[in-house]
Point group: C2
Chain length 297, copies 2
């Protein structure tokens, strides 16, 4: 397996562990942290240590071989990478309370669904304590949560969004390389603000509207009257309310903008239906098809 | 193959062809009519005749064996069943202009996505001319249209909604039996009004919101920032605008109600995000999960 950095910008290479095997600590063994652990064990030969507030996921991860051991403050001191698999605020809290143990060669990365709210805080902590921070959002998930539904192949062909911030290029490359090793199909780079604006549309808005959709009084009676359209729109209404309420509120501004845009667009179609001019309505709806086709979808 | 009717209500049995092989005419060989033709040839030994405005689908259907021949006014005179695979208004027009040729033993059924607007018209025509009408809505489809994407297994495990109206029970049973033979997993019965109220929610609203969703200025930039949520919500935005504008306008009242309900629910979640109380927002979102879980989804 080819690892390490080559070519340009090698000045900082020595700041990071360049041997084949890295010591990686994953804090938070839910679906994302658990899946990263399993994927790392399946596709790489890195040493993996798990940290988790409750004991059950740790025991399960040890038993199934997703981690080599339970991480401690001592493990953090010599870790090459720390991956945070927690809710956004908890991730910041974890780094804050463990900053003194995180070694200077360590690259810290998170997996949060929001970035403007937490990347600057984690970058500041990194600068203050001498380690490196690179933001990361794996675009994969399931309707269910927790270590039990984690999956070594959750990330196959998914997109990895990286938020380099002011991290050295070598550290960013190391995270990018690791995402490719565990199955991600592509890596895209963004600022925290670009990320949050896009995610408000691609991920948060579909969750908002899935919930709004199933609130219809017709919903409980849908059986026998529904097919793929119902199933697809309502899928993510099976929501982890505690996680998503945090994500929504911490990405308030871009998300409110997307919800209002959706409401305005719904009103425009509604007015077209009220007016009852078939050709005019067809022309409006056809624009949606044009957008999808231009995207090759 | 067991067909025919047994037991109670046999008085009207003689009004219908009770032999094993029926002569079935399908008018309109798009994705739905074409799939019914292919499924009938695959799973039954009925004789199938196709009628279509343009010639290409007829030639293709003949070539691939989806139909035994091209239907004519003469075929209609001796047909046991006429299945309308056309847009709603076109279906009514077809029956109106061919009513004199439709034999009295014939069961006419449609496949329209709206019922209040067309079932009463088709029932009246049936009464006037002595044949039988049973409304039918197959809950299956694809994002693409036309005979080319028709599929003998399109209906596997799908729901068949039947609108019996005042049709004799034997005729309704014959249509229901046929749907089961071609793969439908269940049959549900409804009045036109019940059907239209449910379909406004389960099928039309997802199409409206998929279009409204992709109208966001963020949409063309989504690549690399999206996963299953984007894909599922936007899927049906690749809309057949001419068909759906007809369906939306002809089901105006229930659909406008559903769109307004969705807008109101979106506003409620939006206000929760604006207010920024995590627990209150989580409690609201959690109701969506409760609804999905109660449905076993």
């Amino acid at each position: 397996m080819e690892r390490g950095f080559g070519g340009e910008g090698c000045v900082l290479v020595t700041a990071y562990h360049t041997e084949n095997t890295m010591k990686i600590v994953i804090a938070g063994l839910g679906i994302i942290g658990g899946s990263i652990a399993k994927a790392l064990k399946k596709y790489t030969d890195h040493e993996i240590y798990g940290i988790n507030r409750s004991k059950a996921p740790l025991a399960k991860a040890l038993e199934c071989g997703a981690i080599d051991g339970v991480g401690t403050n001592e493990t953090l001191k010599t870790a090459d990478m720390l991956i945070l698999g927690m809710y956004p605020d908890a991730a910041v809290e974890f780094v804050k309370s463990h900053a003194e143990f995180i070694g200077k060669k360590c690259i810290v990365t998170d997996t949060s669904g929001i970035k403007s709210e937490i990347c600057p805080k984690l970058s500041s902590l990194a600068k203050e304590h001498g380690f490196t921070f690179v933001g990361f959002h794996p675009m994969a998930g399931k309707e269910k949560n927790g270590f039990d539904v984690s999956d070594a192949d959750l990330f196959l062909n998914a997109s990895a969004i990286l938020i380099p911030g002011d991290a050295p290029a070598e550290a960013v490359k190391r995270v990018a390389d690791l995402t490719k090793k565990i199955g991600f199909g592509r890596v895209v780079y963004a600022t925290p603000e670009e990320h949050d604006r896009m995610i408000a549309f691609t991920s948060q808005l579909p969750h908002v509207l899935a919930c709004a959709y199933v609130f219809s009084p017709q919903c409980p009676k849908h059986e026998g009257f529904s097919a793929g359209s119902y199933r697809d729109v309502s899928r993510v209404a099976n929501i982890n309310a505690s996680l998503w309420s945090e994500l929504f509120i911490e990405n308030k501004e871009p998300l409110l903008l997307e919800i209002q845009t959706l409401i305005d667009n719904l009103k425009e179609i509604k007015e077209g239906i009220e007016k009852g001019d078939r050709e005019e309505l067809a022309a409006l709806l056809h624009q949606a098809r044009v957008i999808k086709e231009a995207l090759g979808e």
